[in-house]
């Protein structure tokens, strides 16, 4: 068809353009109006009836996310299959497939207790190399699973380890060199939930039941092509910020709703997105509900912390209690991400922290609009879902009011005593090289190098300093869990959520394996490099924005025996 006809088509569309303003997500404007300040809840039209039309997928007896004892799983096959993520629209999906007792599990929720022996074979049926990483677990380097151990198509890899860590919501996902982002995006991710006596006690106290009132929520942003198939595409100018999807999925359910009772629920939340952070809140109309943070990456806090909002970066987990008795009437409650400044501040002047001449920064950047400076980094969006915009994630309908008189216990668990190292910290600066590459102390990943060497059995303080000309980086360390000692120079939207103790956020009082470090911020973390593994062990320290990881924002570090 010739150009002339196309022009006519376009002209005819133009003449039909008197349709008036119609935003795909009217909450875009709410986010833009919010500027850089924490925004009030605006009751976006996406929360109106008919938007959340799909029942939330909850782990059942088999299938997606179904729970199974980890020690009963002998093989996980990394598979390409078809799956209806959108109703009645099959899409290619990559999944960890296990078969136990005649049942088939996709990305099973593996259940374990401290001391359990896990022995299983990973079989790679992809057309590219892969390796499975046990995120958050203390393992020797081989069982940790990272790129140096990746296996090619048709090959397998055997894991055998003891669960040494405290009860927590761990997870597993791919960790091959350079292609972890695509593999995780296409579906490869599952939870490993370790339970112990403290966890059991809480379940009894609140009468919680797995899959009914104790529910994992895996939040991921994804894009679909015009045929409804998962699509992973980035332009070069989008790559530095990482992938941002056009839809937010919870448990691989698009626009999900959940029918609940007026009682306490436990939500074990994993931000399984490649790059996106969320500012989580529960809202009923314009009112934010209180909720309780009870655990972080590596298990229960000592005491519950009452909150109304908190950030969660990629790969982090938050364990929350929501008491729906505090909701009024029968109006739905929404789990949502409040508007925030995503701080794509790659173009600011490093010394002053002010925007470079002609550069736009921060939130409210629409597709096609880019930083005006010469900097190669350009804040971008995923379709209509800008990074940092207000968005509802899950609709919770209150359907019943059973007899329920339980209260949240004041004491949840005991954390290992925090013992910080004396002396100067090891400094690790997060930045970029001005050529589109994110770096740690100026380093980019080289699988043959371990620029950081620590001594087994010693304690260290690491000072993670993010440049002002940067963006938020969720920094993850393999092999060891850590505590946060201090946050300094946090941006206002973070500082307003901080406690009076060393600028720490409520989640900083838990054990972590991933910490979100904002532009201009300095975060001191305490590490204890004691472990039972003989010989030198090499682990990874990297940004869990998976596109950052894939493009080199990662270093190997060696624990000398």
């Amino acid at each position: 068809m010739n150009h002339f006809t196309r022009r006519k088509f376009l002209a005819a569309l133009a003449s039909a353009a008197g349709l008036g303003e119609l935003s795909l997500r009217q909450s875009v404007s709410a986010a833009m109006d919010a500027g850089h300040k924490p925004a009030p809840v605006s009751g976006a039209p996406a929360e109106s009836a008919g938007y959340f039309t799909n029942r939330l997928r909850i782990p059942g007896a088999s299938g997606l996310y179904a729970a199974v004892a980890a020690k009963d799983v002998k093989q996980i096959t990394v598979s390409e299959l078809n799956f209806e993520i959108l109703p009645r629209v099959p899409s290619p999906l990559w999944a960890y497939v296990a078969e136990v007792g005649g049942k088939r599990f996709l990305n099973p929720t593996l259940l374990a207790r401290p001391g359990d022996q896990i022995k299983l074979r990973m079989v790679n049926r992809l057309k590219q190399p892969t390796i499975l990483h046990w995120h958050g677990l203390t393992n020797d380097e081989r069982n940790d699973g990272f790129g140096n151990y990746q296996v090619g198509p048709g090959k397998s890899f055997d894991y055998a380890f003891t669960v040494r860590d405290r009860a927590a919501n761990y997870w597993y996902h791919p960790h091959p060199h350079d292609i972890a982002g695509e593999q995780a995006y296409r579906g490869l991710a599952g939870l490993l939930i370790v339970k112990d006596d403290d966890d059991d006690k809480l379940s009894r106290a609140l009468d919680l039941m797995t899959g009914v009132t104790d529910i994992p929520l895996v939040i991921q942003d994804r894009s679909f092509n015009f045929e409804g198939k998962l699509e992973y595409k980035l332009s070069r100018d989008q790559l530095p910020a990482g992938f941002l999807g056009e839809e937010i999925l919870v448990n691989l359910t698009v626009r999900p709703y959940f029918d609940a009772a007026r009682r306490i629920y436990r939500f074990r939340i994993l931000n399984g997105s490649n790059a996106r952070s969320y500012r989580l809140a529960f809202a009923q109309g314009t009112r934010l509900l209180d909720y309780y943070l009870i655990g972080t990456d590596s298990g229960l806090l000592e005491q519950p912390q009452k909150l109304r909002e908190t950030f969660i970066g990629a790969a982090q987990r938050l364990d929350l209690l929501l008491d729906l008795r505090e909701a009024s009437g029968s109006e739905p409650v929404f789990l949502k991400s409040l508007a925030f400044d995503p701080m794509h501040n790659e173009s600011v002047d490093e010394k002053s922290g002010k925007p470079a001449a002609g550069a736009m920064q921060g939130m409210g950047v629409m597709p096609g609009m880019q930083s005006g400076g010469a900097d190669p980094h350009a804040a971008h969006t995923g379709g209509g879902l800008m990074d940092g915009m207000e968005m509802p994630l899950l609709q919770i309908n209150i359907r019943s009011a059973p007899e329920y008189k339980r209260n949240i216990p004041s004491q949840l668990s005991r954390l290992p005593k925090l013992a910080a190292a004396a002396g100067e910290p090891r400094r690790l600066r997060l930045g970029h090289d001005g050529e589109g590459n994110w770096t740690i102390n100026g380093w980019r990943f080289n699988m043959r190098e371990t620029p950081v060497i620590v001594q087994r059995g010693t304690r260290e303080t690491w000072l993670l300093q993010n440049n002002r000309a940067s963006m938020p980086h969720p920094m993850h360390i393999h092999g060891f869990q850590f505590r946060v000692l201090e946050r300094r120079d946090s941006p206002v939207q973070v500082k307003t959520l901080a406690t009076r103790q060393n600028g720490l956020l409520p989640q900083d009082f838990g054990l972590l394996d991933t910490v979100l470090v904002w532009p201009g911020e300095s975060v001191r973390i305490a590490l204890d490099f004691s472990h039972p593994f003989k010989g030198d062990q090499t682990y990874m320290f990297h940004c869990h924005n998976l596109e950052h990881e894939d493009t080199g924002m990662m270093i190997g570090y060696k624990v000398k025996a």
Partner: protein, 128 residues
């Protein structure tokens, strides 16, 4: 592997078309093609001479406005026009056509020129 989309690979012609289309859509909807540029008034397209043309497409519904009779579709290439896919809003000929549709459903549709504008005259759930 990252599937990088290099915007410079697009021909100027397609860029220009996108730009015009973006103008066309500007007051209708939020559209999501990247790298669009504002179009000066001097290049605004003129209303076409009367043509009767039906264009068929396949896409994923993004949003439905039943009151206004508008549906936003992320559609694939329009073969008849040799046009790349994108996301746009369209008027439907009859609002009742939207009653059985839901967001994020795959549909086949027909656009028909009525002498002054293109309208969706047929839209049905797509089979696989």
């Amino acid at each position: 592997m990252l599937h990088l989309v290099n915007p410079t690979e697009r021909s100027n012609k397609v860029k220009s078309l996108l730009a015009i289309m973006m103008f066309a859509a500007a007051s209708a909807t939020t559209a999501f093609a990247h790298h669009e540029m504002p179009v000066p008034r001097s290049v605004q397209p003129q209303a076409p001479a009367a043509i009767q043309k039906v264009i068929t497409g396949t896409g994923l519904i993004q949003q439905i406005d039943k009151e206004r009779g508008v549906v936003t579709i992320k559609y694939g290439p329009l073969q008849e026009l040799n046009m790349p896919g994108m996301t746009m809003s369209f008027l439907v000929k009859d609002k009742a056509m939207l009653s059985s549709l839901q967001p994020l459903r795959k549909v086949n549709f027909e656009l028909t020129y009525d002498g002054s504008k293109y309208l969706i005259t047929k839209i049905t759930g797509a089979s696989f």
